[in-house]
């Protein structure tokens, strides 16, 4: 059921949290507000109905089909419960938390106090924030894509631990290498990338038996402050942060989710990257990065980039032919795509990477990537699935026509027959069927 309803990765994570930790979060106004925003519109309206409905409950019988998903999801999160009469009731502490958050508004409930920047070249500073934050995140990705001594110096040990814990990298030190899971991570859209990183980080904490409440508290409150142009807002640091929270904030700074010029300044900027965390839905990025890729009908890919990271990702499924300063040329070939498919990258991931990173010039045309190219990538994937492997048992060398016929008809009756060849007198049944045949054979022989 959960698969049917599109849920934000964070919600799935939340439902995996231990009960008590989740209930603390669910009574905290900023968390309630944040969570509410991640839900789908239909689920949101369902909650609103529950809040404002005087009875505070809805009977099962009156619910609509479209609500089934929402209810299942909300029950999973303990936001709603069923009372003894079979009515759906909203968790009272969530109701309280949400209402108080909604009344205060997102900024006030975040409890951060704005820092007013009086500097002259504000505009430039803002640009700087965007640039620096993108650079930071790129450093992480670059380390993952191209692990080397030089890329390693740009990331902290925490980041390396998270990536390793998530299974994106294998080995340590010089032995370290990207895994196929790591490659799949690189192909994700920015929203999904950042969400999955954050969730992997929280999982690592949970794995070490540390509570994630403290960290989520900081992160969710920051996220609530995001609006249209996050880089224009700066806030004072919170002095009440404990040591773990301070470390976490520094880690967010390293990832580029927030920007702090100097630690002693005592204030931080939000960044467009952080804005990604406001989006429940994974494929559209709020930071509309203009991509660099042009895919042509002749399977050539032109990458308007000098970023070795982008090229490293591209080269995982493209055969690269030319490298210029501002542009690189590659060709999608059967071999190059199969190489990627073999390490577990899917055709959809390749296609969506090409789409999300398409150059404005081709994004403007009707199709960002030619249909023949996406079809072909899928066909290359499909051709790997033409052979189905199944464990089976072969019977041959029957002593008589009758024996063969009997086995065949038994197998047909039991629906365990995979293949029969009447000219060679072969019968192939599923391996589970083998036991049945054995038992039946024994009985048959005893009977005669």
């Amino acid at each position: 059921r959960m698969e049917e309803c599109e849920t934000a990765p964070f919600i799935s994570f939340l439902s995996s949290l231990p009960h008590d930790e989740r209930s603390i979060l669910l009574s905290d106004p900023p968390s309630c507000l944040f969570l509410f925003r991640l839900l789908s519109p239909s689920t949101q309206s369902f909650i609103l109905t529950l809040i404002w409905e005087s009875t505070q409950s809805i009977s099962f019988s009156s619910r609509r089909d479209s609500d089934t998903c929402s209810i299942a999801l909300l029950r999973e999160l303990d936001i709603v419960n069923e009372d003894e009469n079979g009515k759906i009731v909203l968790n009272p502490s969530f109701r309280r938390g949400y209402l108080s958050g909604a009344v205060q508004g997102s900024h006030r409930s975040s409890q951060f106090s704005p820092h007013s920047d009086t500097g002259k070249d504000k505009k430039n500073k803002e640009k700087d924030v965007v640039k620096k934050s993108n650079e930071r995140w790129e450093c992480v990705l670059r380390f993952l894509a191209l692990p080397s001594d030089s890329t390693m110096t740009n990331v902290s040990s925490t980041t390396r631990d998270v990536l390793n814990h998530a299974g994106f990298t294998s080995g340590h030190g010089n032995e370290m290498d990207i895994t196929s899971k790591g490659f799949q991570f690189l192909l994700l859209s920015p929203v999904r990338q950042i969400w999955s990183y954050v969730i992997e980080l929280l999982r690592m904490e949970l794995g070490a038996k540390r509570k994630v409440k403290d960290l989520l508290d900081v992160l969710l409150r920051m996220t609530l402050c995001v609006d249209g142009e996050p880089e224009r807002r700066s806030f004072k640091m919170d002095n009440s942060w404990n040591e773990r929270q301070v470390n976490f904030v520094n880690h967010l700074r390293e990832l580029g989710l927030i920007f702090i010029r100097k630690r002693k300044d005592g204030f931080f900027y939000l960044t467009p990257l952080l804005a990604n965390l406001c989006l429940a839905h994974q494929n559209d990025s709020m930071v509309h990065k203009s991509g660099s890729l042009m895919v042509e009908t002749n399977f050539r890919v032109y990458a308007y980039t000098s970023s070795s990271l982008q090229l490293a990702i591209l080269s995982s499924f493209t055969s690269m032919t030319y490298r210029f300063h501002d542009m690189s040329v590659g060709i999608l070939t059967r071999d190059s795509v199969r190489k990627a498919l073999q390490v577990g990258i899917t055709a959809d991931q390749i296609i969506s990477f090409l789409k999300t990173n398409s150059h404005p010039e081709s994004a403007n045309s009707a199709l960002p990537i030619p249909i023949t190219v996406s079809d072909q990538i899928r066909l290359w994937e499909d051709e790997r699935k033409r052979l189905l492997y199944q464990d089976a048992t072969l019977y041959s060398g029957f002593e008589s026509e009758k024996e063969y016929e009997d086995v065949l008809s038994f197998a047909e009756r039991e629906d365990i027959l995979l293949l029969a060849d009447s000219s060679r007198k072969n019968v192939v049944v599923t391996s589970e069927g083998h036991e049945k045949v054995k038992a039946w054979w024994k009985r048959r022989n005893e009977a005669t």
């Binding site: 080269s315 210029f324 300063h325 542009m327 040329v329």
Partner: protein, 791 residues
């Protein structure tokens, strides 16, 4: 088997190798392996074999395996405004969305070969030939380097400069001009003239020992105009983003060469006259001296040859690209020899007719088939003011009287086929007369239709027979599976112009075609035999695959309901007949007589009840079927890119209801898991590079609802029996016939058809031919056929 051991290594190759080579037609431009005979190799200047790919073997690769040219190509400050990357290996990438795209495109097409031109980024390649062509249309070494430098995002790699210099310095310096009916070798470079004059071989050919220093031409050269849209308006709206130096450059290259290169112009024109009968010797010698002669025909000053006196009809207008190609040909008020490349259906014939009316002298037009001879005649009458009596046809079936006496001196347009002219055996009396006529004339212009299909050997023959001042080749695809483009360059002349298919499609000049590769799963029974069979039989089993038949039938029904006109192509005659008879459709192939052919084609054109015809590869080229808008290909000649393009051309003629939607359909039916799949990929390469996209179709919705033949296992097994029982000969593609002009080496299994193709249809001859040289022919015979003979 004993025969196989003898002969040269080429003849000794097994059937399979030959097959592979024919079928795989590779892109490789090297061609070093298959030049026939050492003496011919010298007819190509040494510089022509220069190749950047092999020259620059040092190049760095980056961490992803790509050629890393960053060190050699530092970006300019304003690189975003410039549209080109010129890589040191001669590949050039052009942004089609750049504001200066049009400037760059016109320039690049003049100096480089287009490799692929899809939507956004076009790729070109600098080759020795493309540079030769550039020089011959009047560009100078320094101009080429300078313009390329300006258009480029980075500074031009040193190696590229050297390559351009090396390839162009000696080209285009010397011209062979026919003036007042005397042949002159002309040059503005005195050092070159001196060098030629000192050469002992050339000395023997000079008429008098006088080097003429011509006075500066004072006569104002009248500019040749064509009835088209006056001038491209496209350039007038210049964008603010165009860097100044590029804008200025464009004005210079587009302006006629009379205006530009003032410096060159002011040099004294030096010339010497040579004896007419020694032209070939001089031409050959000049190539050896690395100064190939550019043939130019100053037809306006040719007073010896009478004017034809025809003109284009006032109603005839040229499309912009037709006009552009002609402007390049007649750029300096003389006629240049060369090749114009336009997609099929884009009006090559009109370009040819216009060239003929412009030169206005005797014109010989050579086509590939009798049908196309008729079509040329019709087109001449359609577009020009030519009178019936001025057109003479020489073909096997429709032969006009050879002009006698005074009439023989009157100028005319003569239309014939390559095989007629190049045939080297004995001819009938009438054919002999016709040939004497052709040989005796001094032709102002020779139009060579579908030049790429003609093997070099045949060409040489044609060109030694025909005395012509100017040669214009017309073709849709300069792709040759046998790499003989090299020869074309020096036999006819450089490529003068090549159109961009996608741009013509966008402008509505050719149909918008949806290409599809339809996958037909093999039935289990057919596949079982397929796996065990020899290659030829494999091909037949793939074509006869019942699922392919059913899909073909479904597509025909689907399109007939839409009132489309459908052509089905099959190279394999066995399949052709079986499909056509089974579906009750008319078919034509090599052995179909001329009258029946015309009848079928006319029915297809005008009879609303005949909407589908089946044709063999005889219809590949120059069958003009303007009605057809759907093409289904069930069997093809291996991996031939050219054939695929030619076939597509059958449905390219712009359709009436031009809109944004596709108005023509090209289906290539391939049996899954067979060799057809690989071939299909290769075949598509040319068109894909022109920007076409093949959609793979592996399921046709609605097929299960149709009542199609061969639905039962029994009928399929019956078909399989028939396929297995078919003779080996049936399994082969259709072979030699009149239209199959790729060389006299192929000898038909039916002895008579070769002689009849050249007009000798008398019984006495054909039996004689059989007796006379059976042995010689054996040696020449294509290895494919030898195998059948040995049994």
């Amino acid at each position: 088997m004993s025969r196989r051991g003898g002969g040269t290594s080429k003849r000794g190759r097994g059937k399979w190798e030959t097959y592979r080579e024919e079928f795989n037609g590779d892109d490789s431009q090297s061609g070093g392996h298959s030049r026939d005979g050492g003496e011919e190799a010298t007819s190509v200047p040494k510089a022509a074999s220069e190749n950047l790919d092999t020259k620059i073997n040092y190049s760095k690769t980056d961490e992803f395996g790509a050629k890393d040219y960053r060190d050699e190509m530092p970006l300019k400050a304003d690189f975003t405004h410039r549209p080109l990357w010129v890589a040191p290996d001669g590949h050039i990438f052009l942004e089609s969305f750049s504001p200066v795209y049009k400037h760059a495109r016109d320039f690049l097409i003049a100096i480089a070969e287009p490799v692929c031109r899809p939507e956004h980024i076009h790729e070109y390649q600098l080759t020795a030939y493309s540079l030769y062509a550039a020089v011959s249309v009047g560009l100078q070494t320094n101009d080429i380097i300078e313009y390329l430098e300006r258009l480029s995002k980075s500074s031009l790699p040193e190696g590229i400069k050297q390559f351009i210099t090396m390839c162009t310095l000696s080209y285009g310096k010397v011209k062979l001009v026919l003036k007042h009916n005397r042949y002159f070798v002309e040059s503005r470079h005195s050092d070159v003239i001196q060098k030629l004059l000192k050469d002992p071989i050339i000395q023997k050919c000079i008429v008098e020992e006088t080097v003429v220093e011509e006075p500066q031409q004072t006569t104002v050269v009248e500019k040749i105009t064509f009835p088209g849209q006056e001038k491209d308006k496209e350039m007038d709206t210049t964008d603010g983003a165009v860097p100044d130096d590029i804008g200025e450059l464009y004005g210079r290259i587009e302006g006629d060469e009379e205006d530009d290169a003032e410096a060159i112009r002011s040099l004294q024109l030096l010339s010497f006259e040579i004896k007419q009968e020694t032209i070939e010797i001089v031409q050959k010698r000049c190539i050896e001296l690395e100064y190939p002669l550019l043939a130019e025909y100053d037809f306006r000053n040719d007073t010896l040859n009478p004017n034809l006196g025809i003109d284009l009809k006032p109603s005839t207008t040229l499309r912009p690209y037709q006009e552009k190609s002609l402007r390049k040909m007649f750029g300096n008020s003389r006629a240049r020899s060369g090749v114009i490349v336009l997609p099929c259906g884009a009006g090559k014939t009109l370009v040819g007719v216009t060239a003929a009316t412009t030169v206005n002298k005797r014109c010989l037009c050579l086509a590939t088939s009798n049908v196309s001879v008729e079509q040329w005649k019709a087109q001449f009458k359609l577009w020009s003011t030519i009178q019936e009596k001025q057109i003479i046809r020489f073909t096997r079936e429709a032969r006009d009287a050879v002009p006698q006496g005074a009439d023989a001196k009157k100028p005319c347009v003569c239309i014939s086929t390559y095989s007629m002219v190049a045939y080297s055996g004995k001819r009938t009396y009438a054919a002999e007369e016709a040939m004497k006529f052709i040989e005796s004339q001094e032709w102002g212009l020779v139009l060579l239709d579908e030049v790429h299909t003609i093997p070099a050997k045949m060409f040489r023959r044609v060109l030694t027979i025909v005395q012509a001042h100017c040669k214009l080749g017309l073709t849709a695809t300069l792709v040759r599976e046998d790499d003989k483009i090299t020869d074309l360059n020096f036999l006819i002349g450089p490529k003068i112009y090549e159109a961009n298919w996608m741009e013509l499609q966008k402008a509505g000049h050719i149909a918008k075609v949806q290409c599809a590769e339809v996958w037909c799963p093999m039935t289990a029974e057919f596949y079982a035999y397929y796996l065990r069979a020899q290659i030829a039989r494999r091909l037949l089993l793939s074509v006869m695959n019942p699922n392919k038949f059913r899909i073909c039938q479904f597509l025909i029904r689907f399109h007939e309901r839409r009132n489309d006109k459908i052509i089905v192509f099959s190279d394999n005659v066995f399949a052709l007949k079986r499909y056509a008879i089974e579906m009750n459709k008319p078919f034509l192939y090599g052995e179909t007589g001329q009258t029946e052919r015309m009848k079928i084609l006319q029915n297809f054109q005008y009879n609303p009840r005949v909407n589908t015809i089946f044709v063999s590869k005889v219809a590949d080229t120059s069958f003009d079927l303007p009605e057809a808008n759907v093409l289904i290909q069930i069997s093809a000649h291996g991996g031939s890119r050219r054939q695929e393009a030619q076939r597509l051309g059958r449905i390219l003629r712009a359709k009436k209801h031009s809109s944004d939607a596709f108005n023509a359909f090209f289906y290539s039916l391939v049996s899954q898991d067979t060799v057809e799949m690989g071939y299909s990929r290769k075949r598509q390469r040319f068109l894909v590079n022109q920007g076409y996209a093949y959609k793979v179709v592996n399921k046709l919705p609605g097929m299960e609802k149709e009542d199609l033949k061969l639905g039962t296992k029994d009928s399929q097994l019956q078909l399989l029996q028939q396929v297995l029982a078919a003779s080996d000969a049936d399994a082969e593609e259709e072979d030699c016939k009149e239209e199959n002009v790729d060389g006299s080496v192929k000898v038909s299994r039916r002895e008579s058809s070769l002689s009849s193709m050249s007009g000798a249809s008398s019984v006495s001859y054909s039996s004689k031919g059989k007796a006379q040289s059976a042995k010689d022919r054996e040696a020449e015979r294509h290895p494919l056929f030898r195998r059948f003979r040995q049994k």
